[in-house]
């Protein structure tokens, strides 16, 4: 589904990703772990197409198509979804309007019929149960004044509405208490299907107790320095990252 080769990228003339190779197949869950500053979030942002980052080389084929040349909205329309580490507050736009706009834009791009407000309400009420959200959240401005946990749940709600093929969760566990973590992870797990894939970007292992990965990759200094199964995450939890950094 996703085939990244020799990906290099940076921000403001500073190279952060120094050659990433990563293959993600349908139905798989990959965890990308690493210490702060290793480039985890950069990888997530580059895959989603954040124009603040510059791609310096390499490629990322998504179902055979070069992802790096596509506008962010086109990537989303083709099924890529990034759950933001810091969801953006948009005062003045209601969550309901935002979600319906996104839903309809993606349907339109796929040549499907748009949902009217009433049809959409049915869809969203069903999805909101997944993340245990109250319908009053729909009439609040997008993320404005939301608690950390509410913001993250709102990200997963968007994911549930947009039904991506490839979801990238960027530090979705940060700032969550254990109950919120369970709800968020439960939502992600409920959305797993044999034909979609998930990349979980995280610093800590604890989210991986709930979203169990098939593969774990350790990113350090812009490169993947170790790949393994879910047991690698447990080893990192026990030993920290230093032993890998030294080896690299």
């Amino acid at each position: 589904m996703l085939d990244i080769t020799s990906l290099r990228a940076g921000i403001a003339e500073r190279e952060i990703l120094k050659g990433i190779d990563l293959k993600v197949g349908a139905g798989e869950v990959h965890a990308v772990m690493g210490p702060n500053g290793s480039g985890k979030s950069t990888l997530a942002q580059v895959l989603a197409g954040n124009p603040a980052y510059e791609v310096l080389g390499g490629s990322a084929l998504y179902n055979g198509e070069e992802l790096l040349e596509l506008e962010p909205e086109v990537r989303a329309q083709k099924g890529i979804f990034l759950a933001f580490q810091y969801p953006v507050e948009i005062p003045g736009v209601t969550n309901a309007y935002f979600l319906r706009s996104a839903y309809n834009e993606i349907r339109k791009a796929r040549g499907e019929e748009e949902a009217d407000p009433l049809e959409f309400l049915d869809i969203i009420e069903d999805r909101m149960k997944l993340v245990d959200m109250d319908s009053s959240m729909l009439n609040r401005s997008v993320n404005a004044g939301f608690s950390g946990g509410e913001k993250k749940r709102n990200e997963i709600l968007q994911m549930a509405v947009l039904q991506p093929k490839l979801a990238i969760l960027d530090e979705t566990d940060s700032g969550l208490d254990i109950d919120a973590l369970r709800i968020v992870a439960g939502g992600v797990n409920a959305l797993r299907r044999p034909d979609n894939a998930t990349i979980v970007v995280t610093h800590y292992q604890r989210l991986l107790n709930y979203i169990v990965p098939d593969f774990v990759h350790v990113l350090a200094n812009g490169r993947i320095v170790r790949s393994g199964g879910k047991e690698l995450a447990l080893e990192l939890e026990e030993r920290g990252y230093d032993w890998l950094l030294d080896a690299a």
Binding site: V88, S101, A102, E105
Partner: protein, 461 residues
């Protein structure tokens, strides 16, 4: 072209009276032409005091002339386009207006509506009702009734600054029909009042000078919306003045919606005076006209009163939009809150100047002012100037201004959800504007302005 105009310029004695050398020949000619129009205009019978006010005003105008950019209040706005021709008052409406034409400008709900078409009151399209304690009607009617004319006389010209504002002087000289709204003590207007100033192509080259007075005696309450709307693309000059008296404990909501023709010029000046423990809410919404200038001045002349001055302007192309507000805190414990927001596209230009004077006796003043501007293009320009003059020591006054493009993080967030750039930009722009529309406490007006704002961004996107 200037030469041709010069050749036609009448030898008017007022030119000599104006005296001071004005470097720009066109400026002088233009002033002279307005003076001679004043002399020639047949205004029909009207109260003597009104004629006297007109004459004093035209003299003031002759002395002041049109402002130049050397004038501090006009530093960022050049009136040159307004001086390209001499606009002429229309003695009567040249075409007819049908009820269908104005449906698009009306609000939901129950309203008292006064329709003025190309400067003249249209009784058939208006819906007005007065009672012993509440008068709502055209100024022309109010002046015909002797008792009522005396009430008008007590208010007319009491606040407008004709001695130092050329356009207000010009309005006072040529003052045409507007509204007279008078509420006796403790009267709450059962319906909001909509003053609809409509123009069509028949207004080409016209000088429209609506003059209105709103007088709320103590503990009265009213909502007055002034709409300046246009059917077609005529070039004309609207030069309006409204004087508003807000008595002790009274509450006046006063909104302006400026949707003039894109070739029109609009100058609108509001002068308010506030008593004790009263509230004045002034809102200016501006999307039309080639060049528009809104002046709003209020005097907080009683303790414990509040004024809110809010506004939203959305401009594009070569439009210029200018807002000048002035709040004088003359008494203790008053609050003034001000939020103006602007969205600029194309090569448009916005000017904001917010003056707050706090007099020595105005202790415990609470003043807040902000002006935030969103730039959608490289060519757009904003000049914003908060001006605080504080002569009391126990006051709380803040001000701030921002000018910047759309937040790129928010834009990426929307795009990452599959929303294309034009809709994303429209959503963010709308969100930016929505904050100030929240200040509107009449839902029918708020809904309508939200719709207009949203439509406007669709065009810009």
């Amino acid at each position: 072209m200037t030469d041709a105009v010069l050749a036609q310029a009448p030898d008017s004695p007022q030119v000599a009276r104006a005296g001071a050398p004005i470097p720009h020949a066109t400026r002088t000619v233009r002033v002279a032409e307005y003076l001679s129009q004043f002399d020639e205009l047949d205004r029909g019978p009207e109260p003597l005091w009104l004629g006297a006010q007109r004459r004093a005003a035209i003299e003031s105008f002759a002395t002041l002339g049109f402002p130049t950019t050397r004038n501090e209040d006009w530093h960022f706005t050049n009136v040159a386009p307004v001086l390209e021709r001499t606009y002429t008052p229309l003695t009567r409406a040249s075409s007819a207006l049908s009820p269908r034409d104005i449906v698009q400008f009306q609000f939901e709900g129950e309203w008292q509506t006064l329709v003025f078409f190309n400067g003249h009151f249209v009784a058939q399209l208006s819906e007005i009702e007065s009672s012993a304690r509440l008068y709502v009607g055209p100024m022309s009617d109010a002046l015909c009734d002797e008792a009522r004319a005396r009430i008008v006389e007590r208010h007319f010209g009491g606040l407008a600054e004709t001695h130092n504002h050329a356009f207000s002087a010009l309005n006072s000289a040529f003052a045409g029909d507007g509204a007279f709204i008078h509420l006796s003590a403790g009267t709450v207007a059962p319906r909001s009042v909509h003053l609809m100033f409509v123009t069509d192509d028949g207004a080409e080259g016209a000088l429209v000078s609506p003059r209105s007075v709103i007088a709320l005696e103590h503990h009265a309450e009213a909502t007055v919306v002034e709409s300046y709307v246009s059917i077609g693309n005529a070039s004309y000059l609207t030069n309006a003045v409204t004087e508003a008296y807000v008595g002790d404990g009274a509450r006046l909501r006063h909104y302006k919606i400026q949707r003039e023709s894109i070739h029109a010029y609009h100058v609108g000046s509001w002068y308010a005076s506030q008593g004790r423990s009263c509230a004045y809410e002034a809102f200016s919404f501006a999307i039309g006209a080639d060049l528009s200038r809104t002046n709003i001045a209020t005097l907080l002349d009683g303790e414990g009163s509040h004024v809110s001055l809010d506004g939203l302007y959305l401009v594009n192309g070569d439009q210029t939009v200018d807002h000048q507000t002035s709040v004088v805190h003359a008494k203790e414990s008053c609050t003034s809150h001000e939020l103006y927001k602007g969205v600029l596209d194309g090569d448009s230009h916005a000017v904001f100047n917010g003056k707050v004077y706090v007099r020595p006796e105005a202790q415990k003043t609470d003043g807040k002012q902000s002006n935030n501007n969103l730039l959608l293009s490289e060519g757009a320009r904003v000049d914003t100037k908060p001006q605080l003059e504080i002569y009391a020591d126990d006051v709380k006054c803040t001000h701030g201004a921002t000018i910047g493009p759309v937040d790129s993080t928010a834009l990426f967030y929307l795009k990452s959800r599959g929303i294309g750039p034009s809709i994303a930009l429209r959503l963010l722009t709308y969100a930016f504007a929505a904050e100030v529309l929240e200040e509107l406490t009449i839902p029918a007006v708020r809904d309508e302005l939200e719709r207009l704002a949203f439509e406007r961004f669709a065009v810009g996107a």
